[in-house]
Symmetry: C2
Subunit: 170 residues, 2 copies
DNA sequence: CCTAAAAATGAACATTGTTCAAGAAGAATC
DNA sequence: GATTCTTCTTGAACAATGTTCATTTTTAGG
């Protein structure tokens, strides 16, 4: 993404882009905000009736979004602020909202556990799924091939839940 | 990293940097090669006597390397080639060598399984661990806090192995 | 209409990757 | 040692891109 391209696409001058977004970071962050919102909308569309089915649905929805918008997700997770400025709070809050959707079903599946423990478990599961998907879609390095990603991701979720003591029959 | 800084640090001209590395990509890739080699050396230092202890050791070594050289690992995994040129084969091969160290103990722990299956499982586990560590060290977004990363990572490995049917007593 | 505030503009600047003609250094031959 | 040829090194100049800001244009108020 280039400032000049944005200006041309918007039919305005370079200066106007700066008036609107402040600087290049502001431009990127605006895109990232829309990315989080689009992702959240997609995750919210997953049925929440059965927690196990919901977890699989969320993983699948995340995979779908990552497949269709690989660049946007990379921008969201890999962008570094200029001059070590802090990451905007509002984006963090939006990501947390999206994450809460993944946290909820795990809480239901592990009713006996310490809530703080479940919070860390869900963070870990999200990071793991994110890693599998993002490396898998890179098609380089050590990665699960994209065409197998869907079923293997489901398998991963099942395996990990089994390790946590969740029985599939429930 | 800037070409001019490299030239100054090396005590030569800008042109000499280009004679040596070709272009900016060549410079980055040279750094990435050293990164893979350093990582491999570190992983090879993990004792291979007991496969379960080895897996934990490898995860821990990976975390240690990522903690000490966050920028190098990011460069290795996030760098995109200019002009969509293909990723160098030799680096891929070196990464595969490093990865084989993680694959081997899992093969020993799952002797009954189809080798292709174990290959995919180990890729998935590596991607998962990579995701947990890289997001965790970012300290932003949904991530496992760095100070808890070590023990939680071990817990993750145990949980996933349990899900795969590996008993800790062995 | 006139004036003041607000917004838009794009030329000019700073940084950084890249090129390449010119010069320096070295090797080979006599 | 001198000459020539080859190779290496240099850094000025160029290209691409983020950034600034004095100027111009537009809008709003009276």
């Amino acid at each position: 993404m280039k400032v000049r391209d944005v200006a041309e696409a918007a039919g305005c001058s370079i200066g106007s882009v700066y008036n609107e977004f402040g600087d290049f970071d502001g431009l990127i962050l605006t895109v990232n905000r829309e990315t989080v919102q689009a992702l959240t909308a997609r995750l919210k569309a997953v049925p929440a009736d059965d927690p196990l089915r919901q977890l699989h649905g969320l993983a699948d929805a995340y995979l779908g979004f990552a497949t269709e918008h690989a660049n946007l997700l990379r921008s969201l997770f890999e962008h570094r602020m200029e001059d070590d400025r802090p990451f905007p709070e509002d984006i963090l809050a939006m990501v947390m909202d999206a994450f809460a959707l993944m946290h909820a079903p795990l809480v239901r599946l592990l009713p006996g556990r310490d809530p703080d423990d479940v919070a860390l478990l869900s963070r870990m599961m999200f990071s793991a799924v994110h890693g599998i998907i993002s490396l898998g879609l890179e098609e380089r390095m050590v990665a699960v091939p994209p065409e197998m990603l869907r079923e293997r991701l489901a398998e991963f979720v099942d395996t990990h839940l089994a390790g946590l003591g969740v029985t599939r029959s429930a």
